[in-house]
């Protein structure tokens, strides 16, 4: 009775989130099996057509592009971010706090602004081309915008703080005496890093990977602004189908596919970081 009375307070919370997340997801799921008429109106008629289109070569390509982008984003942020996290964790307290501040600050800066910054830097009339022209390295602007790699730069730039924070937390938790023990037993710096530090920070890497990979699947504004629609990604496709194509059932099917990928990544994460169950968002 006592526990029942206590638990009942939690019910509104569960209902609230359940209503706003659970039911919409059910809606999307149902919608992904429905058809539409020639005007784009949804008709209640069961079909697998939407899912057939997901594996249609044209759309499959979009799907693979997105997976590739998300994967590369995660790898790039890992390679760039790991040293940043590692170096920061080993700084003296004052510098360390400063460095952490600089890493966290972009969370507070508009993501549109940060994407826009690259437009200004990379455009044909952009800063980088101007500087290179001025010092005579090139004699005509090098096109750098609207490529797959431009989108990659954008998503990696947008998400690298997540990777760093996740790795930093796990490097920070590392028991320093383990590293000292390793040196003491004759291991070099390099050996210590690969034998001790890296394996022990795997949960952080896995966490960072998850936190980067999932949003990278759907940052449509980055690929829109920097990729210019030359490579189509899942996010753009869904977005266009909803806002312009008016094919919501198809968008729903793609959303479901996207959610499934996200869930796969998360389950992979929870396998790798068993002990860190709550770690992902803390």
């Amino acid at each position: 009775m006592q526990t029942f009375k206590r638990n009942i307070l939690a019910v509104p919370i569960l209902v609230w989130i359940g209503l706003l997340v659970g039911i919409p997801l059910v809606f999307v799921f149902v919608l992904s099996f429905l058809s539409r008429d020639s005007l784009g109106n949804i008709i209640v008629q069961f079909t697998l057509e939407n899912y057939q289109r997901v594996v249609d070569p044209i759309y499959l390509r979009v799907f693979l592009n997105s997976l590739l982008l998300a994967l590369l984003t995660a790898l790039v942020t890992l390679v760039i971010g790991y040293p940043v996290a590692y170096i920061t964790a080993n700084l003296e307290p004052k510098k360390r706090a400063f460095s952490i501040g600089l890493i966290m600050l972009p969370f507070w800066i508009s993501s549109l602004l940060r994407t826009y910054g690259w437009m200004i830097l990379l455009g044909n009339a952009g800063i980088i081309n101007n500087v290179l022209l001025a010092i005579g390295v090139i004699d005509r602007p090098v096109p750098m915008m609207y490529k797959f790699s431009t989108t990659l730069i954008g998503t990696a730039y947008m998400l690298v703080p997540f990777m760093i924070v996740a790795i930093f937390n796990s490097v920070d938790k590392l028991d320093r005496s383990l590293l000292e023990a390793s040196y003491d037993l004759g291991a070099s710096k390099r050996q210590t890093f690969f034998n001790i530090t890296l394996p022990l920070t795997i949960p952080g890497i896995a966490g960072g990977f998850t936190l980067v990979f999932i949003p990278a699947l759907g940052l449509f504004y980055v690929s829109d602004l920097l990729g210019g629609g030359n490579t189509i990604f899942l996010g753009n496709l869904i977005n266009t189908q909803v806002t312009r194509g008016r094919n919501r059932p198809l968008a729903a099917a793609f959303s479901i596919a996207m959610i499934i990928v996200a869930l796969l990544v998360i389950s992979l994460y929870s396998k790798v970081a068993k002990d860190d169950r709550e770690g992902l968002f803390q």
């Binding site: 939690a10 919370i13 706003l20 997340v21 600089l102 972009p106 800066i109 200004i120 479901i256």
Partner: protein, 262 residues
């Protein structure tokens, strides 16, 4: 050898931070460029800022964004804190249920969540506008408040709560006189973060905006699609300044909290 390694560390870190802030600084710098193109610097000007305030659409979108963000952050503060505090008393199973539910919106790709909400609200025939924006934003803001408040609650020694009970406080008095004062800095920091996230959201807002209620980011996005214009630079710079004021405030509360910790 050691010194060389440390020099490399500093070099790498500096390089990273330059890359991290160069795009941001470029935006700010060119908001003062007299020429509408980034191709050349033709002099310093405030013209672009002046133009902003005359743009009715931008001012209107800014108002919508601010209203939505303020309501969202207050709502998130209340719901997130309530969830975290209630979690202290429920059974362990209920607690993990709450935790799972809280993390759920953060695990789903934003586009998918946006579509799901669009379809749902459509089916409910809810008018798209402030209401849908606040509901959807609170979905990703409440979890952050919940997580941050919960982290703080975990730091509170259980015996402090027992001691309040022991001295005669009822559960509600304990919440009011001990728990809330101890977590209020976290609540404020978290709701400021919620404010920032709501103000910054593009993806979900794209689907939640109504015909006459467009948020600022959605509007800026459509401006950016057209291309680079210093007006966008000026607008982004202003938002940046506003956000930094918010960060400054949240840091202030963080400092206060650390001072009080035993």
């Amino acid at each position: 050898m050691r010194l060389k390694a440390r020099k490399f560390d500093t070099f790498y870190l500096s390089l990273f931070f330059v890359a991290l802030y160069l795009p941001v600084l470029s935006v700010i710098l060119y908001s003062f460029n007299a020429s509408p193109s980034t191709a050349q610097w033709t002099g310093f000007t405030f013209d672009w800022y002046r133009m902003l305030f005359r743009d009715r659409v931008i001012v209107e979108a800014f108002k919508v964004s601010m209203e939505v963000a303020l309501i969202t952050s207050v709502l998130s503060a209340i719901l997130g804190t309530a969830s975290a505090v209630i979690s202290m008393w429920v059974t362990d199973r209920m607690k993990s249920a709450i935790q799972g539910m809280m993390i759920l919106p953060l695990l789903i790709p934003e586009v998918a969540l946006g579509i799901a909400l669009l379809i749902f609200f459509n089916a409910l025939r809810l008018p798209f506008g402030h209401l849908t924006l606040v509901l959807s934003h609170s979905l990703f803001c409440v979890p952050y408040v919940y997580i941050m408040v919960q982290l703080r609650l975990k730091e509170i020694d259980r015996s402090i709560l027992e001691s309040a009970r022991d001295l005669g406080a009822t559960t509600w008095q304990t919440v009011r006189t001990v728990i809330l004062p101890l977590v209020i800095p976290s609540i404020i920091t978290a709701s400021l973060l919620a404010l920032a996230m709501s103000l910054d959201d593009v993806i979900i807002s794209t689907y939640m905006s109504g015909p006459k209620t467009t948020t600022l980011p959605v509007h800026i996005f459509s401006m950016m699609r057209v291309g680079v214009t210093p007006k966008v630079n000026a607008l982004c710079t202003l938002i940046l300044v506003g956000m930094f004021i918010v960060v400054g405030l949240s840091q202030l509360f963080n400092k206060k909290q650390h001072k009080e910790d035993l």
